[in-house]
């Protein structure tokens, strides 16, 4: 959130990121299953988007001038849900219902059950195409809204991502900003072992994108980069956010096995201590 004076309170955002991580961990533990590593790695980015960069109105989730956020890596649903709850889309107590029968908080985001979710995701590789369609539609309507799309680094092995990347550049979608959560890990191991994606920057560059490579946990850098992206014209921008999977909890950090499992109650207690929760 920008303060009234227009200056940005980095400490406020850092504090929000810490609180989001705590909610993510609690919700996952309560659910007993879900994706921990990739929710934590993108927590700083999503905090910067929801609490600083994006123009959105939780009281009017369908406000047509809002900026859009597409969680293409849908398995990081807990992170999206925490951001939505903490910005006021629904009561924070609802986070406890994650993955439970009858809950709008489905295992992967479902736009039909939860306001604030722009599009249902979960099957990887599809979000950037949807983001393109929204970006084109916004331009047709002469709206200045921007579209943000978060992808995983393993996810960009999907061919559709590169079909979409070509489309974004071809239609000069400068109202679109893709962010790749470069945590280096996917399910079966390091991305570099499963199927290497590097040189990533050169790939996006070759596809006609403005590329910015950053430390995805440095809040000041994140917000400066999001601001910079908005000034780039005639091209889409991609932010390659170098992150650590499981960031914030020492015993989850960089551990491939914490991709798709939830913390135990004992792990939660230790994690909360580390996070000062």
């Amino acid at each position: 959130m920008r303060s009234v004076s227009g200056t940005i309170d980095i400490n406020f955002l850092k504090e929000k990121a810490r609180a989001i991580r705590i909610e993510v961990l609690k919700m996952l533990t309560e659910a007993g299953s879900g994706h921990t590593g990739g929710s934590l790695s993108a927590a700083d980015i999503v905090t910067a988007l929801y609490f600083y960069k994006m123009r959105h109105n939780p009281e009017n989730p369908k406000w047509n001038e809002r900026d859009r956020f597409i969680l293409s890596k849908g398995h990081a649903a807990p992170l999206l849900y925490a951001a939505l709850a903490m910005t006021g889309y629904f009561d924070i107590s609802m986070l406890k219902t994650l993955r439970k029968m009858g809950s709008p908080l489905q295992g992967h985001p479902c736009s039909r059950t939860l306001l604030g979710v722009e599009i249902s995701t979960g099957s990887l590789g599809q979000g950037l195409s949807v983001a393109n369609g929204i970006a084109i539609g916004l331009k047709m309507d002469n709206l200045n809204s921007r579209v943000y799309c978060l992808l995983g680094d393993g996810e960009i092995q999907e061919g559709q991502v590169w079909e979409a990347a070509m489309t974004s550049a071809h239609y000069r979608l400068d109202n679109l900003c893709a962010i790749v959560d470069m945590n280096g890990l996917q399910i079966d191991g390091p991305v570099s072992h499963v199927k290497a994606i590097e040189p990533v920057a050169a790939k996006w560059n070759a596809f006609g994108w403005h590329v910015i490579d950053i430390d995805g946990h440095d809040m000041k850098t994140i917000i400066d980069t999001l601001d910079e992206a908005e000034t780039v014209k005639e091209k889409p921008t991609v932010i390659l956010a170098r992150t650590v999977k499981g960031k914030g909890v020492s015993f989850f950090e960089g551990k491939v096995e914490y991709h798709g499992i939830a913390p135990t109650h004992e792990e939660l207690e230790r994690a909360l201590k580390e996070l000062g929760g």
Partner: protein, 310 residues
Amino acid sequence: MSLKIATRDAYGEALLELGKRRKDVVVLDADLSGSTKTGKFAKAFPERFYNIGISEQDMIGTASGLSLTGKLPFASTFAVFETGRAWEQIRQTVCYSNLNVKLVATHSGITVGEDGASHQATEDVALMRVLPNMTIIVPSDGNETRQVINAIADYYGPVYVRLGRVKVPMVMPDEYQFKIGKAFTFHTGSNVNIIAMGIMVSTALEAADILKDEGIDAGVINISTVKPLDTETLLNIAKACRLIVTAEEHSTIGGLGSAVCEFLSENHPIQICRIGIRDAFGCSGKPEELLKLYCLTADDIVRTIKEALT
């Protein structure tokens, strides 16, 4: 012979007219706009036409995003690529989110002809039928196609429309009014009724004429909406005859025949014969030759009915 027009040509015209009436219509294609006839719209409204290139999966996603901004997207390519290549995108993004995306595919069935099996969708209806929220419409002629395009524009939700490449006779009466989910009964037969979709409606009418000369009273029903099925009409017809024959230019697995069997076996079991492609790929040839080869002619329907009735 009555006037013949390909359903894809009727689509091109209808889309152009719709584009004039409604500014929210946007059209996407995947490098086949000449063949799918979306090129007409593209020429008239270049600012509302998006060629996504040879990337069908991306086309479906882009259409979905456009629908999220309140546009009315029509996404077209050949039926094989639309429903096959992009199936999971249609499932996850379009149907699961219940988006207002219109999938209008051309070049369905074996009447694609010379291009052969790679380009002949004979399983597209099956692929779309299993998806919740999806509506499936298979128009029988040019006039019906025009009406279908207008009707789906006024309907919210995912729709798959199956069109063909070759010219087909106009079969629907002038006063016919298409309604989503409503079958059209040309005539109800006391012995047997033929339930057909797409180009097989005209074939069924031909078969009924031949049977009439031989003293067999065969009814013909055009069930252009394959999903949701017009179960009321089906039930009434099943109760009033001995035999039902389904006719489709599609696999007998998962298509119209399956849909009718699934419904009637649970609600009013009756003998049903399915005319369609029997678990096989198509092949190259002239459309008329292929219809003979795959037993999709009026004579095939006549023979099937006579055998079943004796």
